[in-house]
């Protein structure tokens, strides 16, 4: 096998394992054909003629672009090793994985780990926590960018508009660790600035992070603070594309600004809204896990423990790989179902969808 330039410099084990993983893939019957297999004739075909021309096309392309085919070997290998091998690796959810026997050698146990998870009373709490947090997040962070974009679109270009845009994008570039530190510092019960304001107005200080009931709000609203400006960009772009003549027509008809927003702007950006909604629902179970983990403490764990933080703790920290892979697989599965469902509904209702 040709070792492309990036791989040569890497760990020795890498090349060995790379070809090993490739072998695994073939065993599983996945047909990923990097380059050289492109010019194999596909014999037993019904539509022979069509296949022959396909083959001709492939051969011509390979002759012309053989250098490009060599170039894409490293990226293709990357996807196989770091995306497809883990996909196949999820079979350990149905096995009793142990390090000595490896993924393929370990014995099958069927749905044992799934049963163990659902028998555990913790399971329903985790599922509930995950869903509540995601839905709360969606309800807040989905409409806010639309409102921001619509209002920004109403005002004239100028210094004010540009500064609002520039400063609202800024928090997006701050890292999760720093955001969480800011939250911890500003909301701390004794020294935090927010509690000093609360005390100034004569109320009792609130232990925001030590209170399980407040955890979701802290998480969601800090997220809104960080993401709203950036998420508004896509709607602003969509608004810039709304037909100017419709505004004129609406004006001639004596429509007020609010009526123009309701009847011209919103229908104009509807396709963008639907696509973003479908994407957000598709990510419902995968949201902001890194931030949840950092915000966790023993006092708020009853609402802040979600499926993914549980997977991390059981899998990486306790090294219970098979069990946590089963929980993770369940999480991805729910996610996928949600995505397909929402996409179907969106297509049914508005005619727009991801596919």
């Amino acid at each position: 096998m040709i070792c492309p330039f990036i791989l040569i410099r890497m760990h020795d084990n890498f090349i060995v394992s790379a070809s090993f993983c490739g072998a695994n893939l073939e065993k599983e019957g996945l047909t990923l054909k990097p380059t050289t297999e492109m010019n194999q004739p596909l014999s037993n075909s019904v539509l022979k003629k069509q296949k022959v021309t396909q083959w001709k096309l492939a051969r011509k392309s390979f002759q012309k672009h053989w250098q490009l085919y060599l170039l894409i070997i490293p990226p293709v290998l990357y996807f196989i090793i770091f995306k497809y091998v883990p996909m196949i690796g999820t079979v350990i959810a149905f096995k009793d994985y142990n390090v000595v026997q490896g993924i393929m050698g370990s014995s099958w146990v069927g749905l044992k780990h799934f049963e163990a998870f659902f028998r555990n009373p913790v399971a329903w709490d985790l599922i509930q926590n995950t869903l509540y947090l995601s839905l709360y997040q969606l309800l807040v962070t989905f409409p806010l960018p639309i409102i921001l974009a619509l209002t920004l679109n109403e005002i004239k270009d100028g210094l004010f508009k540009r500064s609002v845009q520039m400063f609202t994008y800024a928090p997006y570039f701050i890292s999760t660790v720093v955001i969480v530190s800011m939250i911890v510092l500003m909301l701390s019960p004794r020294l935090g600035i927010i509690n000093q304001f609360i005390e100034l107005f004569g109320f009792e200080p609130v232990n925001f992070l030590g209170n399980a009931d407040l955890f979701r709000s802290v998480f969601v609203w800090s997220d809104a603070w960080q993401q709203t400006g950036y998420s508004a960009i896509i709607y602003l772009a969509a608004l810039a594309g709304v037909d100017k003549q419709q505004y004129e027509a609406a004006k001639v008809d004596g429509a007020s600004r609010i009526q123009r927003i309701m009847n011209v702007d919103i229908p104009g950006i509807m396709p963008a809204i639907v696509i973003i909604l479908v994407l957000s629902v598709g990510n419902l179970m995968a949201l902001g896990f890194e931030k949840v983990y950092l915000l966790q403490n023993p006092l708020n764990l009853s609402t802040s423990e979600i499926l993914q933080t549980y997977v991390y703790k059981m899998g990486i920290i306790n090294a219970d790989f098979s069990f946590s892979a089963a929980v993770g697989l369940f999480n991805s599965f729910v996610n996928l179902i949600l995505l397909v469902l929402v996409n179907y509904l969106a297509k049914r209702i508005s005619g727009n969808g991801l596919w």
Partner: protein, 301 residues
């Protein structure tokens, strides 16, 4: 819409004006909410430890001092994390941009056989995610655990970035140019190197900024894959110092301990500023390019 507003100034009705005032008020409130935490953190970081501890800082710096920053720069863990992070960010960005360009360019050429399959091949990975545990096992089996490769390689490409780059190549390197170069006997590689790359500076900037900011800000992979402290990136050091810190002076008298506590508290503010500085410096450029990247990506998936 601007011309419309000008031409119809007289017709701007009373309710519209009220509405517009409402819009401005809303945006001013949004601006204040976004700005306040940023200003507060910066002000606190350049105030004296006592003032911060006593809660006398609420908007502007009180008793200007740089003690927090001195503390940060004298902390060897932070400095080591800082240089590690610079290394990771530079190396990762180079690897990621090269891989992305090298993959996205062939995918943008119509005559490249297999491009539809390859597009499906990468988009499929957006829908199905193997999960944390299988990913961890792959890294482990490759012998990458607790090496720099665990940071540089497993996240080396992002599907979204490939789509952005491909869309860019499709729209800005016309098929006729490719055909003309082929007539002249120019090889694909030569064409990529001497025609496509010079044309692609904007997209390379977009990709480099996106990957660099991602790497600079990420902590999770380091937490999962790294054990040795010498390899920790800055964000992981920050996590320890800012969030999980439980250090307390035992053998100190109360005044000394209070002083330490004040300084440790102040240092957190300075640390936040120092660690966000590299991103803040590139922010003016980044903002433009990020917006551009997001718009290219949204043209066509």
């Amino acid at each position: 819409m601007d011309e419309n507003i000008k031409s119809s100034k007289i017709r701007e009705s009373f309710t519209d004006r009220i509405f517009l005032i409402g819009v401005y008020t809303f945006l001013i409130i949004v601006l204040l909410i976004v700005l306040y935490p940023l200003i507060y953190i910066i002000s606190a970081s350049i105030s004296s430890p006592e003032a911060v501890m006593a809660g006398r800082v609420w908007l502007w710096p009180v008793d200007f001092s740089l003690e927090g920053y001195t503390e940060v720069f004298n902390n060897s863990d932070v400095m080591r994390g800082f240089s590690n992070s610079i290394f990771y960010t530079v190396a990762y960005t180079v690897i990621a941009v090269v891989l992305t360009v090298v993959f996205a360019y062939p995918l943008s050429r119509k005559s490249f056989y297999g491009r539809t399959f390859l597009m499906f091949f990468i988009i499929f990975t957006m829908l199905f995610y193997g999960g944390l545990i299988p990913e961890y096992l792959v890294v482990k089996n490759l012998g990458m655990l607790d090496t720099i490769w665990a940071i540089l390689i497993p996240k080396a490409m992002a599907v979204w970035q490939i789509i952005i780059a491909r869309t860019f190549f499709q729209t800005s390197v016309p098929e006729e140019l490719v055909e003309a170069s082929e007539m002249d006997g120019c090889s694909s590689l030569r064409f990529l190197w001497s025609v496509v790359l010079p044309l692609s500076k904007p997209i390379i900037a977009v990709l480099a900024l996106m990957y660099a900011v991602f790497q600079w800000n990420s902590y999770f992979d380091a937490m999962v894959f790294l054990r040795s402290e010498e390899l920790f990136p800055l964000q992981l050091e920050l996590r320890e110092l800012l969030i999980t810190q439980t250090e307390s002076g035992v053998n100190m008298d109360i005044a000394e301990q209070q002083k330490r506590e004040q300084l440790a508290n102040l240092m957190k503010y300075s640390l936040i500023v120092v660690s966000s500085l590299p991103v803040l410096i590139i922010y003016p450029f980044a903002q433009k390019y990020f917006v551009k990247g997001m718009l290219i990506g949204s043209v066509k998936g």
